[in-house]
Amino acid sequence: MATVKPTDIAKLAHLARIAVSEEQAADVADRITEVLNLVDQLQEADTDGVEPMAHPLDTAQRLRADQVTETDQREAFQAIAPAVEDGLYLVPRVIDE
């Protein structure tokens, strides 16, 4: 039985960039554990030699010709952006480089 602990939640929340407060962590951990217990039924299935199925379609990828089809739509796209300046999207200062 999988059990997700509140400490695991902190790691998951960080990876997913979702804030989970310490008070919420226990509840979220319980909820996720419930889902994982449901999912644990999978372990009973015999899947030896079974190819994983990523996709319902058993077909190959089409490839596109290398031709420019897009035009500049910056104005339309940036009209719905939360923060732009001089054509750039703004974010709080990125420190690590």
């Binding site: 979220v28 899947t47 952006a81």
Partner: protein
């Protein structure tokens, strides 16, 4: 006018019995008068609708207009609509007005269909009751204290309340068929790849498929004729000609081989729902179909597989909602981490966050093989069950949903109970097969649905099978009490 099917309205428009502007105004009036009860629309696009209707009238007057020209429709609010807010039922996209339209929206617009507005839905299509919407729950027109099903609850309630003759919808694990069953409608989820996913906001890319919510199978066929297309912009769109789905509707069913999976009639199925399904099957045998019991031995694993693959795909698909380029951004972020965490935590609702976290867990180091990879293998076993079954039968029938509509709030605190709502519908998404739900009876004065599953790209056959049932029964023609 609103008592007519889409097919009937289309003929009336072509004949000139009334104009598209009159018809559109009629539905807009109904929405304005009645939707405060159902909350089925998030956005009503009155001005654009009347413009489109006037344009449709010009085309109709010139003759040679396409079948759907002038027909009002509603779009589930996860299909991007150029210049019209597309919220996906989320605070995250409450301010999102895309400068482009989904391929299927363009297809319908080109054919002259009129957009009445955008319908309510579970946030990011994650839910089976339409209670996770940022815009509040949708009420079932058959019983306003009950859910309409989800995630396409707004589309279903709008059609059931006769606020639109038909609506687009999407189905990732049952999100068309379950609300169709709970609202007494015909709901079709086509084969994966039949309708373009371009411009449809993704929940789980390998499961999502757009489809129809209408009163009749004939209406579904009409709508699918226009919605379906090969789309070079969607790598998973299938390059196969679109059939005329209305062509086979009248074909007799003599000799049809129906499979009833024993796993779909086990404990957990409401006895009266089971009785309604049995009665429906009897209608088919009377029409000359033969019935045999079949087995889909991995059926019980469909929900577990789905709750790994769906969240895994969604955890990545929803990473783009980061407060940088569009959508919700938190106030005064202290730093980059704060921008991400608060924008996402404040912008997403609880169920969406839960699924993102579950998906993150399933893909994380050390769990990938036990969860994600295992689920993909079991997914193949589930598909193989269907491939084997379709060697013996033409269609598979069973209940769409275990029971009729439940009360608002009854399952919203119990995710696992909610997930089991989709116990009969999820497997077809995993396999990519087409399936539809038709109304087959009332339980506690609430509709229940018969699910019909077909082989890959057998939509025409499915619609034929559903249409013939609707020639013999009148469940699809019934109107919810209180709807005039």
């Amino acid at each position: 006018m609103h008592d007519q099917t889409m097919a009937q309205l289309a003929q009336a428009l072509q004949r000139g019995d009334f104009s598209s502007v009159e018809l559109t105004r009629h539905y807009l009036d109904r929405i304005q008068r009645l939707d405060s009860t159902y909350n089925s629309f998030i956005t009503v696009t009155e001005t654009q609708a009347l413009q489109q209707a006037a344009e449709a009238d010009r085309r109709l007057a010139q003759g040679d207009a396409p079948a759907l020209c002038g027909i009002p429709l509603a779009h589930k609010d996860l299909f991007c609509t150029d210049g019209v807010r597309t919220s996906c039922g989320s605070k995250m996209l409450d301010n999102f007005v895309p400068p482009y339209s989904a391929t299927l929206v363009n297809n319908l617009q080109t054919a002259g269909a009129v957009m009445l507005g955008k319908t309510n839905m579970d946030e990011f299509a994650m839910g089976s009751s339409n209670e996770t919407s940022y815009y509040g729950p949708v009420k079932n027109p058959w019983a306003v204290d009950c859910v309409p099903g989800g995630s396409s609850g707004g589309s279903a309630a709008a059609v059931a309340a006769r606020l639109t003759p038909g609506a687009t919808a999407s189905d990732t694990g049952g999100s068309i068929r379950q609300p169709a069953a709970l609202c007494g409608l015909t709901g079709l989820k086509p084969t994966y790849g039949r309708v373009s996913r371009w411009g449809m906001i993704a929940f789980a890319s390998s499961l999502d498929q757009a489809g129809t919510l209408t009163r009749t199978a004939e209406d579904s066929a009409l709508l699918l004729n226009t919605m379906a297309s090969f789309d070079p912009k969607d790598s998973t769109s299938v390059d196969q000609p679109v059939e005329d789905y209305t062509a086979q509707l009248s074909q007799p069913l003599r000799g049809l081989k129906i499979g009833l999976p024993k796993e779909y009639f086990g404990p957990g199925l409401h006895p009266e729902t089971a009785a309604a399904v049995d009665a429906a099957v009897k209608v088919y045998t009377d029409l000359g179909a033969s019935v045999q019991e079949i087995s889909l031995p991995h059926s019980h694993l469909a929900v577990p597989v789905y709750y790994v693959i769906g969240p895994a795909e969604c955890s990545a698909n929803l990473s783009r909602f980061d407060g940088v380029r569009y959508g919700y951004r938190c106030d005064d972020p202290a730093d980059l981490m704060d921008l991400y965490q608060r924008s996402r935590s404040e912008g997403f609702g609880e169920e969406v966050k839960r699924r993102i976290l579950v998906g993150t867990y399933a893909l994380s180091a050390g769990f990938y093989d036990a969860y994600y990879s295992k689920a993909q293998k079991v997914r193949r076993l589930i598909q193989q069950d269907f491939i084997d079954a379709f060697k013996q039968v033409d269609v598979i029938m069973g209940p769409t949903s275990p029971s009729p509509a439940f009360a608002l709030g009854a399952k919203s605190q119990d995710p696992v109970a909610m997930y089991l709502e989709d116990i009969y519908t999820i497997a077809t998404n995993l396999a990519g097969l087409p399936a539809l739900s038709v109304p087959c009876g009332l339980v506690d004065n609430k509709p229940v649905g018969l699910q019909i599953i077909g082989n890959y790209f057998a939509e025409a056959r499915l619609l034929n099978v559903a249409h013939q049932f609707q020639q013999e029964t009148d469940f699809h023609a019934r109107t919810a009490p209180g709807i005039d």
